[in-house]
């Protein structure tokens, strides 16, 4: 009984220890994403691309018919999901 308890405890500690690098990597990746967003916003505060975006959207609107809804991030990228994971999910979804 004591041995079983020890084995369970040992497994739990091992799993926790093994998950730390993964968690650290995710945190690091999200920190990189935050730096990326800050760097992009410094040169281009409008995520829609300013005048270039306006011209692109105008050309697009003239060339393509109105779309019917599309598959979105809903249920895939909950607010708690890391940016890295959400991107991977979205990218996977667009390929399938």
């Amino acid at each position: 009984m004591k041995r079983q308890l020890f084995a369970t405890l040992f497994t739990a500690v091992s799993l926790l220890a093994a998950s730390q690098p993964l968690l650290a990597a995710t945190t690091k990746a999200d920190a990189r994403n935050a730096d990326l967003v800050a760097a992009l916003q410094a040169v281009s505060p409008d995520p829609l691309g300013g005048r270039l975006g306006l011209a692109a959207a105008t050309a697009q609107a003239a060339a393509t018919p109105a779309a019917k809804g599309d598959r979105n991030l809903v249920l895939q990228a909950r607010s708690g999901t890391s940016d890295q994971r959400a991107y991977a999910l979205w990218k996977g979804g667009t390929k399938s």
Binding site: N33, D35, L36, V37, A39, L40, Q41, A42, V43, S44, P45, D46, P47, L48, G49, G50, R51, L52, G53, L54, A55, A56, A57, T58, A59, Q60, A61, A62, A63, T64, A66, A67, K68, G69, D70, R71, N72, L73, V74, A77, R78, S79, D83, A86, Y87, W90, K91
Partner: protein, 205 residues
């Protein structure tokens, strides 16, 4: 209706530079941040990754859409929003947002090699503020349109209208690039130096 739409866009595109341009350091930092592989150019994959991060940052209420009120107050952004919202549901989905961002990449990829060099990215940053000339309305900068687009950019950047760009007016340009463009070494760029400099830089990519 369509004429009115184009007139409104032309008016918006013709307006003077709305805010100060970023510095050369800021442009270099943004380029480096996007260029995840560090190979000196931004691939579509890297561009999409950056765009995705921008979408998530703009989606402040985390409902997986960009709503109109989540955008900054510029009228250009609001106009773009209306056009990019192709299903007219009053919000931008990730697909609509990414379609727009891909179109921006395509415009900026002047040499059509499916990657943005530093010079192309630098021009993208400038043209986001000053617009570009798309005579044939195909959503690309043709080499034949480049001269006109650069002339327009030059005129907008030349804040004191003396016909030359000082280092302060071309603040987004790295000093080494400015020196390279300044062929007669007079410390300022004339229009022909500006155009020739970019032509050479784009062909060298």
């Amino acid at each position: 209706m369509r004429l009115a739409m184009f007139a409104a866009v032309l008016f918006a595109l013709a307006a003077p530079v709305a805010r100060a341009l970023p510095t050369a350091t800021q442009v270099a930092v943004a380029f480096k941040a996007l260029d995840a592989t560090g190979n000196g150019e931004i691939s579509m994959e890297e561009w999409e990754r950056g765009s995705f991060a921008l979408f998530r940052a703009a989606d402040k209420n985390k409902n997986d859409f960009i709503d109109a009120d989540e955008l900054q107050g510029s009228s250009i952004a609001q106009d773009t929003f209306l056009r990019a919202d192709t299903d007219h549901d009053g919000k931008l989905s990730i697909a609509e947002f990414m379609a727009l961002r891909r179109a921006i990449f395509t415009i900026a990829d002047i040499d059509r090699d499916d990657a943005l060099s530093f010079v192309e990215f630098e021009l993208l940053v400038v043209m986001e503020q000053v617009g570009w000339v798309d005579r044939n309305q195909n959503g690309r900068i043709e080499l034949s349109e480049l001269r006109e687009s650069l002339t327009k950019a030059f005129e907008q950047l030349d804040g004191d209208h003396d016909g030359f760009l000082s280092t302060a007016e071309a603040v987004y340009m790295p000093p080494a690039e400015f020196k390279k463009f300044d062929r007669n070494l007079d410390g300022k760029l004339a229009l022909d130096e500006f155009i020739a400099g970019y032509r050479v830089a784009l062909l060298a990519d």
